[in-house]
């Protein structure tokens, strides 16, 4: 608990920054995009909705004009930002000890490595939950204030999918941070990985290849699919849980056995 308390204190501003940024953005952008939907002509949507761009993000014209369409569309982009946050947080919570030279301080205190691992993992989890909860709350407020007739069950699933994607990248980040503790550019790493993952989903949507879609968490939580079926795809969900478990087990095993890396 001591390490968790200090880790949270250490990353408080960082978590708060991302929380406010995502919450404010979704709150402001949701009514803006819905007002755009209200004034746009049907012809425009028919033209736009059939382009490869919309296929790549997994939405159609019908979905865009549905009550949750714009929100799902926006959330698919916010997932990029939250993915970067999750992965960056997961990586840097470990690499900072090495790059800032504090590992010799922390790892020589009377706590086993497993306690340190779980304290750091829990810090990241709390960060992800806080960001996700704020996003959900801001989304709820925006929809409740500016959009009537929202199907709240599906809305909740779409909003929650942002947290789940963030969690996926956070677990991946923990693994990357432990495997490469000397990484001095965690933000660049996170940005690149998230971008590649997003491109994989876009690519799999365009060529309609389900096998490729299993390589990216963005495919697991398509807003249009959620609206269509009323729940997450259980195959994707199971696969996602399996991957997250794998990341955690691997990172935990390596963390317990690996030599601590030092700045010099």
């Amino acid at each position: 608990m001591v390490i968790l308390k200090y880790e949270l204190k250490r990353h408080r501003t960082y978590i708060l920054g991302w929380t406010i940024a995502l919450a404010v953005c979704i709150f402001l952008m949701t009514p803006t995009y819905y007002s755009f939907l209200d004034v746009a002509s049907v012809e425009l949507f028919e033209t736009m909705g059939t382009t490869d761009f919309y296929r790549s993000v997994g939405v159609s014209m019908e979905y865009l004009t549905s009550p949750l369409g714009i929100y799902g569309f926006l959330t698919s982009f916010f997932m990029i930002a939250s993915g970067v946050f999750g992965m960056h947080f997961g990586i840097s919570v470990h690499t900072r000890e090495c790059t800032e030279g504090t590992s010799e301080y922390l790892f020589t205190k009377p706590f086993p490595r497993k306690t340190i691992y779980w304290a750091k993992a829990l810090t990241v989890l709390i960060g992800v939950v806080v960001v996700g909860a704020a996003y959900l709350l801001a989304s709820f407020l925006a929809m409740a204030m500016f959009r009537s007739g929202t199907p709240w069950g599906e809305f909740f699933l779409i909003a929650l999918s942002l947290t789940l994607v963030t969690l996926f990248f956070a677990a991946m980040g923990l693994m990357v941070g432990i495997l490469f503790p000397r990484n001095r550019s965690p933000l660049l790493t996170a940005g690149l990985v998230v971008f590649v993952e997003y491109c994989i989903t876009s690519f799999s949507n365009i060529i309609s290849n389900r096998a490729i879609s299993f390589l990216s968490p963005y495919s697991f939580f398509g807003a249009a699919k959620i609206s269509e079926t009323g729940f997450y795809d259980m195959t994707y969900l199971g696969w996602g849980v399996l991957l997250v478990t794998l990341f955690l087990v691997l990172s935990y095993g390596v963390f317990l056995k690996k030599d601590i890396q030092f700045r010099s």
Partner: protein, 295 residues
């Protein structure tokens, strides 16, 4: 005889093809002030980091308080104060916050000792770590290591960056801790401080243990430093005595100095044959003895 607190048995660490330490075996007794000297890159920090369970040995083993340093590192850490050679702490914290973090990690109330040590070392607790100089960061590490009143202090190059006045205050603190029964493992390449403080010293060279001796024995090893100035030149083959080492002479060969480990009467007999200007027979410094080891 006191119980050994630290025991190293053929401790070896290699970083791929690079040498770290090779087959180190020695022990440190309870209450001892033990020096660990060697030049940069000799393997001092590697040894210490292995003792602290930060890195895993390639061979051999090490124990502290009879517990294995790899499997019981966190249990051992309860009674160990560690000062790393690197002075890096959480930059966004204030000094007081960091020291409180240390106290919380050990689950001890160290406030009185924290204030006492900070005052003696002239450390400002209200400043942010990021704003501290190298020397002040070192002070933070010293206070953090000692304030929990550990049974064993492991200090890796503790005086680098400290000014002479603070160094003296630090030596006094260490002596007091040692007199209270704290075992101190003190790594340094500054030989004069090891000479001043330690009971025994282990000398490390290229990852291997060159020797381990008490400071007293080291000094009594019989070496004398002889410096002579004469009116005429001294031929190189003049001495013809065994036990002469580190022989140096001035370009005009009127001044020579060397280390001598042999019958002192034989040297004095030889000196009678010279037209002396000046003679100096003195105890060599530990540094000079140490350099002799390194030849």
């Amino acid at each position: 005889m006191s119980e050994p607190i630290i025991v190293l048995e053929k401790l070896t660490k290699h970083y791929g093809k690079h040498r770290g330490i090779d087959g180190l075996s020695f022990s440190v007794d309870q209450g001892e002030f033990f020096g660990f000297i060697g030049p940069n890159g000799a393997g001092k920090s590697t040894t210490i980091r292995t003792l602290m369970g930060l890195i895993h040995p390639s061979g051999g083993n090490a124990s502290i308080f009879g517990l294995d340093c790899q499997t019981k590192a966190s249990v051992i850490a309860r009674d160990v104060g560690y000062l790393p050679s690197e002075n890096s702490y959480y930059e966004n914290m204030k000094v007081r916050e960091l020291l409180q973090y240390t106290a919380d990690l050990y689950g001890r109330d160290c406030e009185t000792k924290m204030y006492e040590l900070s005052e003696r070392l002239n450390l400002d607790l209200t400043r942010k770590i990021a704003d501290l100089s190298l020397g002040n960061k070192k002070k933070v590490g010293i206070v953090s290591a000692i304030m929990t009143s550990p049974k064993l202090l492991i200090m890796d190059e503790p005086t680098s960056g400290l000014d002479p006045l603070i160094q003296q205050a630090f030596y006094d603190i260490l002596k007091e801790e040692n007199s209270r029964g704290t075992t101190i493992f003190f790594s340094s390449h500054v030989l004069s401080e090891v000479q001043k403080l330690c009971d025994r010293v282990a000398i490390l060279k290229e990852g291997k243990l060159v020797g381990i001796q008490s400071i007293k024995e080291l000094r009594e090893s019989g070496y004398k430093k002889v410096s002579i100035t004469v009116k005429t030149t001294i031929p190189r083959d003049f001495w013809g005595l065994p036990g002469i080492a580190n022989y140096t002479e001035s370009p005009d060969k009127t001044s020579v100095s060397f280390m001598y480990n042999g019958n002192i009467t034989a040297i004095i007999d030889k000196l009678h044959l010279l037209h002396l200007d000046d003679v100096l027979l003195e105890e060599p410094s530990l540094e000079e003895i140490f350099m002799h080891y390194y030849e």
